[in-house]
Amino acid sequence: MTRITKLALSIAVLTSVMLPSAARAADIEGTVIIKRRLTKRRVTAPVGAYQRGVNVELPSGPGGDFLAFERARVVVYLEGEFPSHPATATLEQKDRQFVTDTLVVPVGSTVSFPNRDPIFHNVFSLSKPKTFDLGNYPKDHTRTVSFSKPGIVFVNCHLHPNMAAAIVVSPNQWSVKADASGHFVLTGVPPGNYTIVAWHRAAGFFRQRVRVAQDQASTVEFTIPLDENGDPKVVAQR
């Protein structure tokens, strides 16, 4: 596909979707419900802790409320290629961690990876949507990467195998992270039928059909991983 045809296609899509919405766009509000732990936390304490006879308490979850931790790591976006508004985002390396570990950007955005630690870091990814290796660089140096394909890009550091982050490159501008209570809002969605996707690093993809009416907020509820009935339409996949 040439660049021109791609452009023409995108314009065509944009007009068909954007025009009505420009008149009466509406929000999609929703809640993510997570009832149990999804991320498999470290189940063992460091070896040293045992040898030193320390009374080991395994972490029950970050900040005590592990469900909030899980909810804050759910990304919600709409499927389908619509005109995007590329943005610039930052993924810092600080205290031997990527901050934040879950980043969502619309396709075409540029992400910079500044090193805030007094040691070298290295940023690389082997994910399909974008493969890169920024090499080792010291403090206050930064490198940037732009993501032109939607998908999920996992980022790691050669020097620190514990460092990991996921960048969700959404196919359009309607993408958001849920807040700690699981609440999310996708604003200004033109009326129509959509597939809304929720993604969690450990639990995978959850899809729902959603109809957006004029001037009327739609409500979506995700139960992750699955509710007891087991909705056949929702397929979890990584």
Binding site: P46, V47, G48, Y50, Q51, R52, R96, P118, I119, F120, N122, N136, P138, K139, H158, L159, H160, P161, N162
Partner: protein
């Protein structure tokens, strides 16, 4: 030294010495045995420690190889090798090491470049991981490494990237003595790095170890206790490092010694007591028969007599031989003495006979006086020695008459004053004659004083009463009697009764008033006995010419005396 003491010492002292020697030998033996067992227990400890170590080292080396294949560490190392001056690169590796340490619980982790010079390292101090001052560290391939005051046991493994060696990873564990069941000391070039002797400062241990050669077993003294110290040679710890394990000999021998001491204390004391008792008894049993002999000899020395042993003082061969030979010797001596005495008496008798033979009238006078005197002395119950003196003294009483001329002595008529004075000198002359003869001293009083009167009217000294010795008084009475009853050229001898009467008349003036009655009684018994047996030799005067001697005042003629 007394025989008893000697016997006692000869039986007691050797036993005591034997006892002491056996105690000493036993103690040495125990000490030797304990020392051997300590040594072997130390060796066993070493062997088991070596076994544990070699096992764990094998596991560690496998584990370490896996660690050496750590990709991130390799990435960090490459980063550091690419930018050796970069502080951040060093810090990155340092940080990686820290993380490994934290996760895998190492206490000491160090990476070096392929030449072995350290690049970065962390070690645990307390609960904290701190960076190492790598400039002064040179990690060994395998062995001890002392960093500051800590001693680590270090194992190293290469980090390879493909065919290229990019560095060396060293992992260390702080050395402790947990595998040792005994106290142990780790030294390097004689300096104590670590010691597990409770309560004793390393400096003290260092001073005590000064005499020990590096790789040799030795004994050392610590706080008054003796330790045996054995270096562990089965594992090489690196240049200059010696690991010694210790065992207190005193602590090990102490209980045994204590038991020994008790046993020897009680048994030894009992044995000593028994020995002392036995020694005393044996000494006594040996000495008692000899003591009997000695007492007998001492008695015979005191009396001057040599009595024979009556019965065996003991049923011991030697003592019996001794007493028998003593008896033989004593009897021989006694016989010799008796024959000598007999010869002596015979000699004195023949001297008296010679004197008496000068005049037929006085023939037998000395012998008769001697016999009469002896009879009186016996009646008076004098002692045997005195009796002997009286017998001989009486035999010799007139010896002084040798020095008086025959004309005076045998003058038929009356003596004038001058002649009488001459006669009166005979006791003094007799004394002077006998004075020079050895052994005649005892007879001198009789010879000199047999003319002293009870009332002091006698001669030569005019002694009174009992100032005159008893022997002389007895001889005085016997002499007078014999003189009165003997014939003289100028008169006939008195009858027995007359003579007795005369004696009784002068008792208390001339004669001892106690002796005269005794003599009279004695003669009366003799007369009765004579009439019963006429053939017997008797003391009464012979009847001259069949007629009794007419009474003449005997004192009238001094020559009779």
């Amino acid at each position: 030294m007394r025989f008893a003491t000697r016997t006692f010492l000869f039986s007691f002292v050797p036993f005591v010495l034997l006892l002491l020697a056996s105690f000493w030998a036993m103690q040495k033996l125990v000490e030797h045995t304990v020392r051997d067992s300590l040594r072997s227990s130390l060796r066993q400890t070493h062997a088991s420690v070596a076994r544990v170590r070699s096992n764990s080292e094998l596991q560690n080396s496998r584990f370490l190889k896996i660690l050496g294949e750590n990709a991130t560490l390799k990435a960090g190392l490459q980063l550091l090798l690419a930018a050796p001056k970069s502080l951040e690169a060093r810090r990155t590796v340092d940080d990686q090491l820290r993380e490994i340490c934290e996760k895998l619980s190492f206490d000491f982790l160090l990476v070096s470049d392929p030449d072995g010079s350290p690049l970065a390292g962390v070690m645990r101090v307390g609960e904290q991981l701190v960076g190492m001052d790598i400039a002064r560290i040179r990690p060994p391939q395998r062995g001890f490494l002392s960093v500051g005051e800590r001693a680590y046991q270090v194992v190293s493994t290469p980090i390879d990237q493909g065919d290229e060696n990019i560095g060396i990873l060293s992992v260390g564990a702080p050395f402790d003595f947990s595998e040792f069941t005994t106290p142990a000391v780790l030294t390097r070039h004689g300096k104590v790095l670590k010691s597990s002797i409770p309560g004793i400062a390393p400096e003290e241990v260092e001073a005590a170890l000064k005499n020990c050669k590096d790789q040799a077993e030795c004994e050392m003294r610590l706080r008054g206790e003796t330790y045996i110290s054995l270096p562990m040679n089965s594992i090489y710890f690196g240049e200059g490092y010696v690991l010694r394990s210790l065992q207190s000999i005193d602590a090990a021998t102490g209980p045994v010694q204590g038991i020994l001491r008790n046993v020897f204390g009680i048994a030894g004391f009992g044995a000593l007591l028994a020995t002392a008792l036995i020694s005393v008894l044996s000494a006594q049993s040996i000495v008692r028969p000899i003591a009997g002999v000695v007492a007998h000899l001492r008695e015979s020395e005191r009396t001057g007599l040599l009595p024979e042993f009556k019965a065996d003082p003991a049923r011991i061969q030697e003592i019996r031989d001794l007493t028998e030979s003593f008896n033989r010797a004593a009897s021989a001596i006694r016989e010799a003495r008796e024959s000598l005495y007999r010869a002596y008496v015979e000699f004195v008798g023949s001297l008296a006979s010679a004197l008496d033979a000068r005049d037929r009238y006085t023939a037998g006078h000395s012998r008769r006086v001697s016999e009469l005197s002896c009879a009186i002395a016996r009646a008076l119950q004098v002692k045997p020695k005195e009796l002997d003196d009286i017998r001989i003294g009486a035999l010799l009483h007139d010896i002084g008459k040798i020095g008086i001329a025959d004309e005076v002595l045998q003058k038929p008529g009356k003596l004038n004053n001058e002649e009488f004075a001459l006669i009166q000198q005979h006791p003094t002359i007799g004394r002077r004659i006998l004075e020079g003869v050895h052994g005649f001293q005892d007879y001198l009083p009789i010879v000199e004083l047999h003319h002293e009167n009870w009332n002091g009217s006698g001669y030569p000294l005019g002694l009174h009463c009992e100032a005159t010795p008893l022997g002389a008084r007895i001889v005085h009475v016997a002499d007078a009697y014999d003189a009165m009853t003997s014939d003289r050229p100028y008169r006939r001898g008195m009858s027995h009764e007359q003579a007795i009467r005369t004696l009784q008349q002068y008792a208390g003036t001339q004669f001892d008033p106690e002796i005269v009655p005794v003599f009279a009684k004695l003669m009366a018994i003799e007369a009765k006995r004579m009439s019963a047996d006429a053939t017997q030799v008797h003391l009464l005067p012979r009847v001259v010419n069949g007629n009794p001697v007419p009474p003449v005042p005997w004192i009238s003629d001094a020559r009779d005396i």
